[in-house]
């Protein structure tokens, strides 16, 4: 058995590849998460809607993609569609797979979060003359976001880790770069430990950041410049009239 350690891998030579892989992983994660949130919210709203056919369609979508492995979806979108004449690039196929898969889970989180907002909130908004869109945007959604945040954050970290499955279509992300380096150096153990450490270095701070964001939102800290300005104005006006 060789006594060679991690330093026997010429990491300096592979740093640009690892950096490219890291950027690609972050790219897959960001694009897929945004897409999954948009599609997931749309599916959740369709499932909560009044139109029965679209409700059924949305439910069928959720059940289908919740019960099929992500790897199967990746193969269908990349190899399957290509054999049917629709050839998607690696990035498009990878993102599409992740969006389809995670939108199903996110739609369930969003649906239960929206349903979790007390019915009285909708009534209070109606009684104040708010229309359906204003009620959703100003009353239901901000409260649903609070409920959905922990589950959504878990899904984001899970999605980041799942980009590693795109190694199967050589997506040039972190795991694909790791495989190439391992093939070139024959140091699989050291290489994949380093790759795992990089994933950990990405995921752990991300999950801590999301936890911090959750705490800020639950504490009611104003996050948008507009709300910060409004809160500042309100404080000043309330203080102006208070007895000294």
């Amino acid at each position: 058995m060789s006594s060679a350690g991690p330093l026997d891998v010429p990491w300096g030579d592979y740093l640009p590849d690892l950096w490219d892989g890291l950027l690609r992983t972050v790219g897959f994660t960001a694009v897929s998460f945004v897409g999954a949130v948009i599609l997931g919210l749309a599916v959740a709203l369709l499932r909560l809607g009044r139109v029965r056919p679209t409700r059924i369609l949305a439910a069928a979508y959720t059940e289908l993609f919740k019960n099929v492995p992500l790897l199967a979806i990746i193969f269908v979108t990349y190899f399957g569609l290509a054999s049917a004449g629709l050839r998607l690039g690696v990035f498009e196929a990878g993102c599409l797979s992740l969006v389809l898969f995670y939108a199903a889970y996110l739609s369930e989180i969003f649906r239960s979060a929206i349903k979790g907002v007390h019915h009285g909130q909708q009534e209070a908004a109606s009684a104040l003359g708010l229309g359906r869109i204003a009620t959703f945007g100003h009353v239901i959604l901000p409260q649903a976001v609070r409920i959905a945040l922990p589950g959504t954050n878990t899904m984001l970290v899970d999605l980041l880790k799942s980009t590693s499955l795109l190694v199967t279509i050589s997506a040039a992300e972190l795991m694909s770069q790791g495989r190439l380096i391992a093939s070139a150096t024959f140091r699989a153990l050291e290489v994949y430990i380093v790759i795992a450490v990089i994933y950990f270095a990405l995921c752990y701070p991300l999950s801590q950041l999301l936890l911090w964001l959750e705490r800020l939102i639950h504490a009611g800290v104003p996050l948008t410049p507009r709300r910060r300005r409004r809160v500042k104005m309100a404080r000043a006006l309330l203080a102006a009239g208070s007895p000294s």
Binding site: E123, A124, L128, R230, A234, R235, L238
Partner: protein, 270 residues
């Protein structure tokens, strides 16, 4: 008393506008009926509320009094009958004819039993939300919100979130929120039912002040002493029908209907 008969006006606000001058009812309910799953909960009900009137709707739970009030701002849609608010036809023969429901609801403020404040907004933001959505500039809406908070003696709690406030404070913020759109009439759905005696006192004090200011109010309440003190008229609802209505002293002191008498006697015994 016929179901559609009205409550005579005893008080008119001296604001000098045309509606007040000719005393058009702020709320006029005629022959209203409503069913839930085939069960009739309002049966040919009539109610007339004039500017500055305070009408207390009393009766046993499940008798239809809350449903009657919720029909006034269309949180419940009646199956039959007519409703006019501030001279505008809202429902005619069971059909909604009001083209702008949002505007109607800005005319009819509502205070709920469980407060229903928006938990993600501070007290001041809760009050500002409806005016800003209705097109009031933000600075003016804020000014209005702070003025209302002072009116309900909660200016020091303006930046608090609902979960940081007591039930009585939440209900007073809810009253301020309902007043923010300067409604013609304010509806109160058992506003003190969820409160302890001290908080009940705080809320009733604010309502008493609104009454002194000439605010038109319809309140569903179990607080007969309070109704007796502030209401001009009392409406007794039972089994989906108005069994008796009239001047407060007449209904509470000399009820003509046996059910009304039994209810008042039962409430007094508690």
């Amino acid at each position: 008393m016929s179901a559609g008969s009205g409550v005579p006006s005893t008080r008119t606000a001296g604001n000098g506008n045309a509606a007040a001058a000719i005393d058009i009812p702020v709320v006029l309910v005629e022959h209203l009926s409503k069913s839930f799953d085939g069960r009739l909960v309002l049966d040919d009900v009539g109610l007339e509320v004039h500017r500055g009137n305070i009408v207390a709707i009393i009766g046993q739970s499940g008798g239809g009094k809350t449903t009657l009030m919720r029909c006034v701002n269309l949180l419940e849609r009646p199956d039959a009958g007519s409703l006019t608010v501030a001279g505008e036809a809202v429902i005619t023969n069971g059909r909604v004819v009001c083209p702008d429901l949002a505007k109607l609801r800005q005319t009819v403020g509502m205070v709920f039993q469980r407060f229903n404040l928006f938990p993600h907004l501070t007290a001041v933001e809760n009050i500002m939300l409806a005016p800003t959505r209705a097109g009031v500039p933000e600075a003016e809406a804020l000014d209005r919100a702070v003025t209302l908070l002072r009116r309900v003696r909660l200016a020091h709690r303006g930046m608090a979130y609902p979960e940081q406030m007591s039930g009585g404070e939440q209900q007073r913020v809810a009253i301020a929120r309902a007043l923010a759109l300067r409604p013609s009439v304010l509806l109160f759905d058992e506003p003190t039912s969820s409160l302890d005696p001290e908080s009940t006192g705080e809320v009733l004090r604010v309502m008493r002040e609104l009454a002194e200011d000439g605010m038109t109010m319809i309140l569903v309440t179990h607080e007969l002493p309070f109704a007796s003190e502030v209401a001009d008229h009392v409406v007794f609802v039972d089994g989906g029908r108005i069994l008796e209505q009239g001047r407060t002293r007449d209904v509470l002191d000399r009820p003509r209907n046996a059910r009304t008498a039994a209810f008042i006697a039962g409430s007094a015994a508690h």
